[in-house]
Symmetry: C2
Subunit: 336 residues, 2 copies
């Protein structure tokens, strides 16, 4: 799926900034694509960009309204429908990451049909893929893998893209989850495809490219997460990465959603990813470690990174706090 730009970020009546984190994630990484925000009465979040009416947004050439707000259950409240219909009538596509499909609301489905606009539910995938083939394809690929879910794989891949683009390299972030899709304007939520096609979807996401082009691929889950490891393995095989960056959150005491499950060691996690990844790319290597240090003090964070570098012999960083220049330096040295 491909999203037309620029975007209007709809955050409805979000009760706080956290509820609007999909929208703020888009803004963090794609400020240029966002013309403004649309807020309903009672909204307690503010993205800090201009409030636009639907008419304003239309005048500014907005092509897609992004429903960038989450609520418990991922449902679409009826009170949002009128705004969504107005956006469609003003010529916009609408994209959503909610569980509720946009076209399950008759008024929205009717409006889209009447005006020939697209409704894009990034959490669902109606695409059909070929099964993965495992054939080596040209182009270079880096995959962010994790000790757990939600440890910073998306931000790591985005930071690598930003650093590479800043150095004048050819680079594309490749999204595999819903927020990533809004940020890249394309991609597939790989956890939503039929199981037989996980690696095939990954091959589609990061297709053959110029030999000096870099794909920075958002990982999903963890080979050590009992709920989602199948997704992680299919994505690893389909990505056939030249390099993996291991992502980790050092204060976490159990796997996300599995209170009785401990996190793997960093070395153990790297080793299993390399052992499995060799199936589709025998030259796979670990090229860096990305630590989410948000819960550590600054001195503690630096000490932790130094310890990881020492133990694993790989560059380590927190992409948000310190950037990933050291990891990109290393990638350019060792991936040929």
């Amino acid at each position: 799926m491909e999203l037309a730009r620029p975007y209007l970020l709809f955050i409805g009546d979000a009760r706080d900034d956290l509820a609007a984190k999909t929208a703020s994630g888009i803004l963090d990484w794609r400020r240029d694509w966002c013309q403004g925000q649309f807020r309903l009465p009672g909204c307690n979040a503010d993205l800090g960009i201009p409030d636009l009416s639907i008419a304003d947004a239309q005048a500014k050439g907005v092509k897609t309204m992004i429903v960038g707000v989450a609520n418990a259950g991922g449902v679409l409240p009826e009170s949002w429908a009128a705004t969504i219909v107005a956006a469609i009538e003003a010529g916009m596509d609408v994209a959503s990451g909610l569980h509720t499909r946009l076209d399950s609301i008759p008024a929205i489905a009717d409006a889209a049909k009447r005006h020939g606009r697209q409704l894009i539910d990034v959490r669902h995938s109606d695409m059909t893929f070929a099964t993965g083939k495992g054939t080596k394809r040209p182009g270079r690929r880096i995959l962010a893998v994790g000790t757990d879910c939600s440890v910073g794989k998306k931000y790591t891949a985005l930071a690598l893209e930003r650093e590479m683009l800043a150095r004048g390299l050819k680079a594309d972030f490749r999204a595999t989850g819903q927020t990533g899709i809004f940020i890249s304007g394309r991609g597939v939520a790989v956890d939503a495809v039929v199981a037989d096609f996980i690696s095939g979807a990954a091959e589609w996401i990061a297709p053959a490219n110029d030999p000096d082009h870099w794909d920075l691929i958002e990982g999903q889950g963890s080979l050590f997460h009992a709920s989602f490891a199948g997704v992680s393995l299919g994505l690893l095989h389909g990505s056939q990465p030249d390099g993996i960056v291991l992502c980790h959150e050092p204060t976490r005491t159990s796997m996300r959603g599995l209170p009785d499950s401990k996190l793997p060691g960093l070395k153990e996690c790297i080793d299993l990813n390399l052992a499995c990844g060799r199936l589709t790319n025998p030259a796979i290597q670990a090229v860096g470690v990305s630590i989410n240090t948000v819960k550590l003090g600054p001195a503690e964070a630096l000490a932790y990174l130094a310890k990881v570098e020492d133990e694993l012999g790989l560059p380590a960083s927190d992409p948000v706090a310190f950037g990933v220049a050291n990891i990109v330096d290393h990638i350019l040295k060792v991936v040929r």
Copy 2:
């Protein structure tokens, strides 16, 4: 999904016995459930069981008609619809393993609605599952894993069930693919579930049970198959097996569907399955090797089995040619 018994095996106008192999697989393992076959004019296959009219089958108490015939593309020819409708009108459910959904044929959908009968497309899954939890549950489980697809995992699990039942043990074959579902009367085609729910589906398939009950679980794909390894890993994690039986076809020179991909070594394949399987069952062990020797001569087959036993220190057999008594002996000795 659960299928009501007994069955009528519909093999349509199958052009040869191979086209009816789903039906013959059911018959091989569940003779008692099959009241007869239904053949259309021009059918070149014969299952060797009574030909029944729909009225005969109704009189014999048939509850489900199984569409047990495959053709290129998995489509349902129009010429079959009248018989399927007649079965529904005679009070039968209908189950199919074709790609074409039964309810996509209006006459069939209407008849099922009118008579309140179930249409079961085992190749599709509309079930919703919880995500896998990885929590250890009571009961003992053996999973058939493979070096490749189509190496005998289903037959191995079925042979283990048969041998255990013959010894008076509590045992259930657990189906994870379409033919297996017809044979067991229940199960889920795990390759058809949404990727996020692979291990959750496996937990549903082989639920908590008596401490002395054995689940014999049909494996899928291979951790070394670049197209399907994600399915294999989710199934391994969700099955949390106490023992794995490695299945292999010794004359195969490349992975099924991937001509450039070599098969892994037996030891290598066991080791990766154990390394990954420890996540949800730290006591996992390899308990046997199942070799499909159909393409070897008898002397060659025995020599190959002896070599495997010697190299791996595990009992080896061909379940079809020689049974699995030696593997069950070993399982009962080492799994506690």
